[in-house]
């Protein structure tokens, strides 16, 4: 064992060491990417499936999916906003102390003393809002392009779950600053959770069976918003819900690939053929060696099965440019908003001084508006109906016409246009009537609460929307037409009620044209 004198080509070990040291950065890079720089289709493919973070993507992406009009990047925008919130949220956790009063003081410190603290908090707040909006728009895109249809039904359900968790994340974060805004918004939210009591009270059941009170107690851990509620909301916000959303997101992405990539119309290839190509890379630079393997053979009619990868381009770099682009645009939007507008922080929470009006976070103001007529209907009834309705859409609409096309299917854009007009007009008229003339309780002060629960603007609006949707099904002889009508109406109702709740409701939930008219003192 004397390696030093083992052969004539005796090398200087020191020289060897120096060479290795020099080459180390190159070797690190090479070993990181295993198969060399992504310069050929083959290495581009291996670049994708050899990477733990990228391998949820297919190695090749259909050109249709890269068109801006196909998705508008809304899904990626939702994930981007989540990532921004995740990173800034972890940063905030270094300074945030989840205990009443200390929480508020730590917010003040983050705002005024922690270097870049204000920017990071603003980013966190704006990215959360951008995420809520992007998720809702993403759902609308998925619906209007009929992307929920076979084989993507289950992914639509996962998407509903993601919407709920997103709202939950945003809502639980609302309490953490422990200022008046947070305190009373969460008090309102907790009272909405208690709304089944309206029915159990009316039936004289509350003493024996009180699901509303239980819900509220589970949420707050006490009979009012206090330190128990704060630690619960904190745990939900930084631990349970992020884990839940990460798990759901993983399934959501995985299913996109397993369900055959993003939706596209049946004639996508013909349509693309008619257009001028502006690809940077030719479709094939060499014979495909590893274009498919077993994992890529999936159920369903996908473009790639048995037909060859026409009209596809390597995901690296085409798809990644698009995704990174959307990420950076999202970051840009959040950053610009953060520099323009500070996240609000009112005075320290004070259980003795109720805010009037106390308003829930903006995305729940539509619910609060309905709650003002009936707590049960606004807080439980309508949300459950809406979520059930959304979840059922892919299982009721078994048609195929118009998949992958904006407003595709019977009725199409004219029906959506009509539904927009109807969907906006119905809640505005109903609200105008209720605001001008009052409702049952004002006319007959002594009627049983159950009647008001059953008949109020929220239930009437739901019924009117449902009837309109049934009419659409009959007129176009298509379930998809009914879904188009109902979903459009639902979006319109959400917008109208949210706007009324946000801008036109003042102290005691009275109607005011502008906050300048609110009575003071």
């Amino acid at each position: 064992m004397t390696p030093v004198a083992s052969g004539p080509e005796k090398k200087d070990a020191l020289q060897e060491f120096k060479n290795s040291l020099k080459a180390a950065p190159r070797h690190v890079l090479e070993t990181a990417f295993r198969t060399g720089p992504p310069t050929t289709d083959r290495t581009r493919s291996t670049f994708v499936f050899g990477n733990v973070f990228l391998h949820l993507h297919a190695v090749r992406t259909h050109l249709w999916s890269l068109r801006w009009s196909a998705t508008m990047g809304l899904g990626i925008m939702s994930v981007s906003a989540f990532l921004i919130a995740l990173v800034t949220g972890v940063m905030l956790m270094f300074y945030y102390k989840p205990f009443p009063d200390a929480a508020y003081l730590s917010m003040k410190d983050i705002h005024f003393v922690v270097p870049t603290g204000r920017l990071i908090r603003n980013l966190h707040r704006w990215s959360a809002n951008v995420m809520v909006i992007a998720v809702i728009l993403h759902m609308a895109r998925t619906f209007y392009t009929a992307a929920y249809r076979r084989p993507r039904e289950y992914n639509w359900l996962i998407g509903i779950g993601l919407l709920v968790v997103t709202l939950g994340l945003s809502f639980t974060g609302y309490l953490l600053p422990w200022d008046q805004l947070a305190y009373w918004a969460i008090t309102i939210g907790a009272n909405i959770a208690q709304s089944p009591r309206e029915v159990t009270d009316a039936l004289n059941l509350t003493e024996h069976f009180d699901p509303g009170g239980l819900q509220r107690l589970l949420l707050l851990g006490s009979d009012q918003v206090g330190e128990e509620a704060l630690i619960r909301f904190y745990l939900l916000h930084v631990m349970i819900l992020p884990l839940a959303i990460a798990a759901l997101m993983a399934v959501h992405f995985w299913r996109i690939r397993k369900d055959g990539g993003l939706v596209r119309p049946a004639d996508a290839d013909e349509q693309l053929a008619r257009q001028r190509r502006d690809e940077t890379y030719p479709v094939f630079t060499e014979a495909p060696v590893k274009t498919y393997h077993l994992a890529a053979i999936v159920r369903g009619r996908t473009a790639n099965v048995g037909r060859g990868p026409e009209n596809t381009v390597p995901s690296m770099p085409h798809l990644f440019y698009a995704e990174l682009g959307v990420l950076m645009v999202t970051l840009l939007v959040c950053l610009a908003l953060s520099l323009l507008s500070d996240a609000p922080l009112k005075e320290l929470a004070n259980p003795n001084v109720p805010e009037n009006p106390a308003k829930a976070p903006w995305y729940f103001l539509g619910l609060q508006e309905m709650v003002s007529f009936s707590a049960f209907i606004g807080g439980i009834g309508v949300p459950v109906i809406v979520l059930l309705g959304l979840a059922l859409i892919p299982y009721l609409d078994r048609e195929t016409e118009g998949t992958g096309k904006w407003f595709g299917g019977p009725g199409g854009w004219p029906l959506v246009r009509l539904s927009l007009a109807f969907g906006l007009a119905a809640p505005i008229l109903l609200e105008a009537f209720a605001i001008r003339f009052g409702w049952l309780r004002e006319w007959f002060p002594h009627i049983p609460q159950l009647i008001v629960t059953a008949i109020n603007p929220a239930t009437i609006l739901t019924a009117v929307y449902a009837l309109y949707s049934l009419w659409s099904i009959r007129r176009y002889q298509s379930v998809r037409a009914g879904a188009l009508a109902l979903f459009t109406c639902f979006l319109c109702g959400f917008v109208v009620l949210t706007v009324i709740g946000t801008y036109f409701r003042g102290p005691n939930w009275e109607f005011y044209w502008s906050p300048a008219d609110w009575p003071k003192h």
């Binding site: 890269l66 801006w68 003081l105 003040k108 410190d109 705002h111 005024f112 003393v113 270097p115 870049t116 920017l119 200022d179 502006d278 690809e279 940077t280 381009v313 085409h318 440019y321 698009a322 990174l324 682009g325 959307v326 950076m328 645009v329 970051l331 840009l332 950053l335 610009a336 520099l339 609000p344 922080l345 009112k346 005075e347 009575p519 003071k520 003192h521």
Partner: protein, 551 residues
């Protein structure tokens, strides 16, 4: 796919640009950085860093000293920018107490608008500079404060006796005299807190007698009443002359008749103990001229309560502008905070734990604080729109026949069902205080006592049926059917019936009360004949038969 590439490039460049801007703003554009960069200490430029005064016992972390550097601990020497001036010498060292405990504002903030509290979401903006003594009210309770007239008389006496020649009080006096040199006596600005030698007068006289020349020679004997005035003046020197003066104005305006301050006062208006914390974001400034400051809101509210606060029942204060400013200062000073024991000042302990009064116990002060709001500063009565007129107590016809027992009973028990509350209660006056008030009311009429009445309280034995007929024609117009009250006082009131003697009622009906609608029925008038003594006694007999009058 150039489109996506461009998108990525452009958005990344824009993000980078914004991040650079944010970094520049954070590191170079903050006002406190600019100020500290200009600052020069004794050893050259000061370190540019966030500074703060932390006092965990007071719950304060005040970063005000990031801009007001030379007010921070050990940095009095820092100068260079306009803002860099040391705090004037005060008892409470800002290096220990911090800033916001006295001045208000948002201590955690590091930017001017936020720190001074002029932002929508901060409920406690800084106190205006001229009213900074209102900040004392955060911890302190000036005790034993006399009414305005007494305080002013005491101040005048102190000045008239030329005490300022040798003593400095509240920054005034003790000046160099042209012939005899500098200040001789000690500064008395805190005499009310630190106490003063009760034998000062004897010692002064002694020195004056033994001195041959110099300022002592000018000391002359002082009268008893002036000695009392000087003592009163010294007792009220608490290093916060404006606050004490403001409080004495408050005590003379009769506010306690309707409002409570720390648990003492009337029930008609809202409690004022924490009125200084009123949040400018929660009140309407629509009818308030000038900038949106609580100071302006309060002042306008005193001038015209109902126009500033919709539905307010409070009558406008008949006060001069400087008095309104004093009321504003005092109201702003009602901001008592919870304090840890080590920071509880003695006056607050005395007030809270030992129940010492915040107002002086002389009749004039008590009358001013509790009665003047309705019965007028001089007992002249008051007539307010929409309210039954408040009786004049100084009316000589009234005082000439009303025995002290009637006055005492009335102050103690009030008139149930009417505006006059009974003051003998836990949150009202104590028996000896009521005696002082009664004595003061008596003095308002010149101190005349009614002739002593040998007859018992109830001696009338008239014809009640006749009295009833007379009452219905002659009295019910003002006093209401069955004496239930109308424009004139209710006569079926139980306390009135119990405390008024028959002599008092008979005399009131016969003589009337000058200056009021109550005529004397002994004398005929153009519209009715005179009532005989027997008629009057019949009326009294009827009054005694009213429900409430039976005892």
């Amino acid at each position: 796919m150039k489109k996506n590439k461009c998108l990525l490039l452009l958005s990344s460049a824009a993000v980078l640009l914004l991040l650079v801007w944010a970094a520049v703003e954070e590191n170079f554009l903050k006002e406190w950085r600019r100020i500290q960069a200009e600052g020069r200490g004794e050893e050259g430029p000061v370190a540019v860093q966030l500074r703060q005064v932390v006092n965990p016992h007071l719950g304060k972390a005040d970063r005000c000293v990031s801009c007001h550097v030379s007010m921070g601990p050990g940095e009095q020497g820092v100068a260079g920018a306009k803002i860099l001036v040391p705090h004037r010498a005060v008892v409470h060292d800002p290096a220990e107490y911090g800033c916001t405990v006295c001045h208000g504002g948002q201590g955690q903030a590091t930017e001017k608008a936020d720190a001074h509290g002029d932002v929508p979401f901060w409920p406690e903006p800084m106190l205006p500079k001229e009213m900074s003594e209102a900040g004392c009210g955060t911890c302190h309770v000036p005790l034993d404060v006399p009414g305005q007239a007494q305080l002013q008389a005491a101040a005048r006496a102190f000045e008239r006796l030329d005490c300022y020649a040798c003593h400095r009080v509240d920054g005034k006096g003790g000046t160099v005299r042209p012939d005899q040199g500098g200040m001789e006596g000690p500064d008395l600005s805190r005499a009310g807190l630190a106490g003063f030698d009760r034998d000062w007068y004897a010692k002064h006289l002694g020195k004056a007698n033994s001195a041959a020349t110099g300022p002592w020679k000018t000391f002359r004997p002082v009268s008893e009443s002036d000695l009392a005035q000087v003592a009163l003046f010294l007792r009220t020197r608490m290093a916060a002359p404006r606050l004490v003066a403001a409080k004495s104005t408050f005590l003379s305006a009769g506010c306690l008749g309707c409002h409570k301050v720390s648990g003492v006062g009337g029930d008609d208006g809202p409690e004022l103990t924490l009125a200084g914390f009123k949040d400018p974001g929660q009140v309407s400034f629509e009818q308030v001229p000038g900038p949106r400051r609580m100071k302006n809101w309060m002042a306008e509210h005193f001038r015209a309560p109902a126009s500033v606060v919709v539905g307010s029942q409070m009558p406008p204060a008949p006060l001069a502008e400087n008095e309104i400013e004093q009321l504003t200062l005092y109201t702003l000073s009602l901001r008592r905070k919870e304090l840890r024991d080590i920071y509880l000042p003695k006056d607050r302990i005395r007030a809270v734990k030992f129940g010492e009064r915040e107002f002086a116990s002389d009749g004039a002060t008590l009358y001013g604080a509790f009665c003047a709001g309705c019965h007028g500063q001089d007992g002249q009565g008051r007539r307010l729109p929409g309210l039954v007129s408040f009786p004049s107590l100084a009316n000589p016809d009234f005082l000439a026949i009303a025995p002290d027992s009637l006055l005492t009973r009335t102050v103690e028990q009030g008139r149930p069902g009417r505006r006059m509350p009974g003051w003998l209660k836990a949150d009202g006056l104590r028996p000896e205080e009521i005696q002082a008030v009664v004595a003061h009311v008596r003095s308002l009429g010149g101190g005349t006592l009614p002739p002593s009445d040998p007859r018992p309280a109830r001696w009338v034995a008239g014809d009640a049926a006749l009295g009833r007929r007379i009452f219905e024609s002659a009295c019910a117009g003002c006093h209401g059917p069955q004496g239930k009250g109308g424009e004139g006082p209710a006569l079926n009131n139980q306390v009135l019936q119990e405390s008024a003697t028959d002599s008092f009622l008979v005399e009131t009906i016969s003589r009337g009360r000058r200056g009021t609608a109550m005529a004397g029925f002994e004398e005929p008038s153009p519209v009715r004949p005179a009532l005989s003594r027997a008629d009057i006694e019949s009326v009294v007999a009827y009054l005694r038969s009213l429900p409430g009058g039976k005892s």
